[in-house]
Amino acid sequence: MPASPTTATTLRRSLLPLAASAVLLLTACTSPGGDAQSSAGGEPVEGGTLVYASGDAEPDCLDPHVGGNYPQALIAGQYLESLVSIDEDGEIIPWLASDWTSSEDGLSWDFTLQDDVRFSDGSPLTAADVKATVEHIQDPATGSSTGYLALGKVTGVEAVSDTVARFTLSAPDSALLESLSMPWLAIESAAGIARGIDENCLAPIGTGPFVVDEWVKQDRVSLVRNEEYNSPPADAAHSGPAHLEAIDWRFLPDSASRYAALQAGQVDVIDNAQPDTLAAAADAGTFTEIDAPRPGASNRLELNSGKAPFNDPFVREAFIRAVDVNDGIDALFFGTAERSYSALSSVEPLGYSDEALFDHDLDAAEALLDEAGWTETDADGYRVKNGERLSLAFPVSTNQSIPAEQSLFEQVQATAAEAGFEVTISPLDLSSWYGALFSNDYDVVSAPYTKVGPDVLRILYHSASITPAPSGYFANLAQLNDPELDALLSQASSSLDADERAALYAEAQERILGSFTVLPLYDQQNHFLLGKQVQGARAINTVSTPNFYDAWLSE
């Protein structure tokens, strides 16, 4: 125990150095030789370790074929590559595939692979690897979700030659190229896949600019440069291996600590920067921000039209007119999120918007409720019909909604109450939240969905997505059941004519928004903050994941 001071005065003074004695004690406690990373940079262009701090969940498996969620997509983009990519204008561009052609009936697609690309294990990229990849994703054992659904129309892949892979489809798929651009469908080595799920999860073998070196669970994934790399996408800024020597991919779940680490220079890049952090960072002016909204659906509230009270379109419209989200978005997101009036993300070229449908108008809302028969009001100010209160269940997934968004939902609750809606918000963990959805125990819900291209509308609003599978799973949470909409979405998904496709999707979106089952809020947020020393980093235009192939550290 500590030395006893000799006088009362030194004792009093010794309170100050308490921290020092604590540090001394810690020295005794700490095992020597922790891996003190040298601070990144020094070289202006080549070399250095970039430290990336992710606030997303740590993946269970580094192979995005297995499961297939956003945290996997974030990191997989560093070591896996797709057949095609998407450029800034939303055009499909070559990546591992240099060329592709479709048969006239749209049921067969030939992809020609780039010459002389090698996987990080040294084996050449061939059509057999493409075949193995698709089979891997379609194998129920991998539990692939997003990737599996995206390949719904693909019946098989055949290696026509070493460099030509032929996809055969059960029906024409206008979303095929968009689907293949996603990290969940990235090409892996057949030999890597053959090692089995467990081993492949630890270090998938791809063609990317970096290679998984080590995965310390609950802490970090170490990525090192692929020295033989030669397959950048068509819109990359340079060729040959990456500038960075390594990436230290850390998992920092607390958003305040993540920003503190960036401020302290302990990390170079953070993701999931929260609205308050973005505002602070903008004030500080010492960081670069990449604002890369996710593609697919916008963040939106879906109204369950499959049961009362929202099976009545008047009540749905009344709700949408009653709630005021604009003020909430402005106040809670510090100007970092822009109001959306579309079911699709603002990065989707075919997104259709109609602001007039979503005007905040309390009088109109009340008139609509009167018309729908909710004419009485109880002592608490809520509307009543046939003795029943106008109550809405709103389960909120605390794993998926950031605090600002949860506060916004409270604003929705408060403004809906003015028209006489009682909204009961239940904050739930992910599994309980799924439970509430699958037991049809919700009236309002917010569920993120990321998929490249407007075909996401078919997944979310086609009536086929209402029928719960044996598991209870369904994606059409608005429970929209509109045969005409179904026809539009199916036609659009099969149409290989760009103009026709655009027209069909516009019409489909008009119907969706006009049904008042959807209240668009804003794009799915994807904000990255970078230290000023980080140059050349970008978000790739498929699902807006960061790409460090062109990046370098200037200090």
């Binding site: 269970d60 997003t146 669970k217 609950q218 607390d254 600590s257 599994s431 599978a469």
Partner: protein, 320 residues
């Protein structure tokens, strides 16, 4: 060993086994009775949608299609044979996972306990017998310290020592400097608590006859407190240290998350989020086991520090 003490040991062991069984059972049912299907959470991370086939597969693989009691019996059977099962999400044996995460958390907890003791002793020495003002200041510090929530304290420490002063890293990187803030976060509230208890019994001790006689021999006030009274004052603190270590393991849940330290706490958070029942059960069992072992150890330590307790506990041995 006398028959009496053998009985006591057996009773203690039976108690420990009962505690572990109860903890495993409660955890199992608590995790299962919340609505929601673990298979969904396993496959359906944020933003992804699992196919029905994959869900069926996952259920079969983990025996989730069996009746609840069958699953419970299977879990108990596995536990009895020393098998903690395999993580739903990470697909590795739970024992391996815990073995990898335990050292980091134990290091954090033990260091925090030691630092808490240092602070508590200093506080107790400072605030007793040095006048009324010192006493009330000391008492105030103790109360405030004991009441500080970990997440708040962590945020303040990061803001002061990392963001403003730039002395210490806000997140752990495996070296010494990264350990300081997490340890202080856990140690400060505990120190307040320990110091409050120690000061009470220190005041008691200072009123004892042996202190009077020491004073009569001309020993300095500080010497008396540091040599005689502190020993007396430490007894309740030692007795509580077992409990304290357990509570530090619970505190690690927040601290490991904020400071991004690998460890049991973070493992638990992630496992609960995805409803990874075997991992949650495993972590909770380990924490319970540490509680049980530490309580036993601190009983023994108290007996060493305080001879009277030995005397009361086993009169036959003393008499023999």
């Amino acid at each position: 060993m006398t028959p009496g003490s053998a009985n006591r040991v057996l009773l203690r062991l039976a108690g420990a086994v009962f505690v572990l069984w109860a903890v495993a059972t409660l955890t199992f049912f608590a995790m299962r009775l919340i609505p929601g299907d673990p298979a969904l959470a396993i496959l359906g991370g944020p933003g992804s949608q699992a196919s029905p086939e994959a869900l069926e597969q996952a259920r079969r693989e983990h025996g989730l299609d069996q009746p609840l009691l069958v699953q419970y019996a299977a879990m108990l059977g596995r536990l009895l044979s020393g098998d903690l099962g395999s993580s739903y999400a990470l697909k590795v044996p739970v024992a391996d996972l815990l073995a990898a995460q335990l050292p980091g958390t134990l290091l954090l907890a033990v260091c925090s306990l030691l630092v808490a003791w240092v602070i508590a002793i200093a506080l107790a020495l400072f605030s007793t017998g040095a006048g009324r003002i010192a006493a009330s200041v000391g008492h105030g510090i103790e109360l405030a310290g004991a009441a500080l929530p970990h997440f708040w304290l962590a945020t303040v420490l990061i803001a002061v020592f990392s963001t403003s002063l730039g002395w210490l890293p806000p997140v752990s990187s495996g070296d010494l400097s990264g350990l300081v803030l997490p340890v202080l976060t856990l140690a400060i509230p505990l120190a307040g608590f320990l110091a409050a208890i120690m000061r009470e019994s220190m005041l008691d001790a200072l009123a004892q006859p042996y202190v009077l006689s020491a004073r009569a021999r001309g020993e300095s006030e500080l010497g008396i407190r540091a040599r005689h009274a502190i020993r007396h004052a430490a007894i309740p603190g030692v007795a509580l240290s077992g409990w304290a270590l357990g509570s530090l393991l619970s505190g690690a849940v927040i601290v490991e998350t904020i400071f991004a330290r690998p460890g049991l706490g973070r493992t638990l958070v992630q496992a609960v989020t995805v409803r990874d029942v075997p991992v949650v059960t495993g972590v909770v069992l380990v924490v319970a086991l540490v509680y049980v072992l530490m309580t036993l150890a601190s009983d023994a330590a108290s007996a060493i520090v305080d001879p009277r307790q030995r005397a009361q506990a086993s009169p036959q041995e003393v008499g023999a």
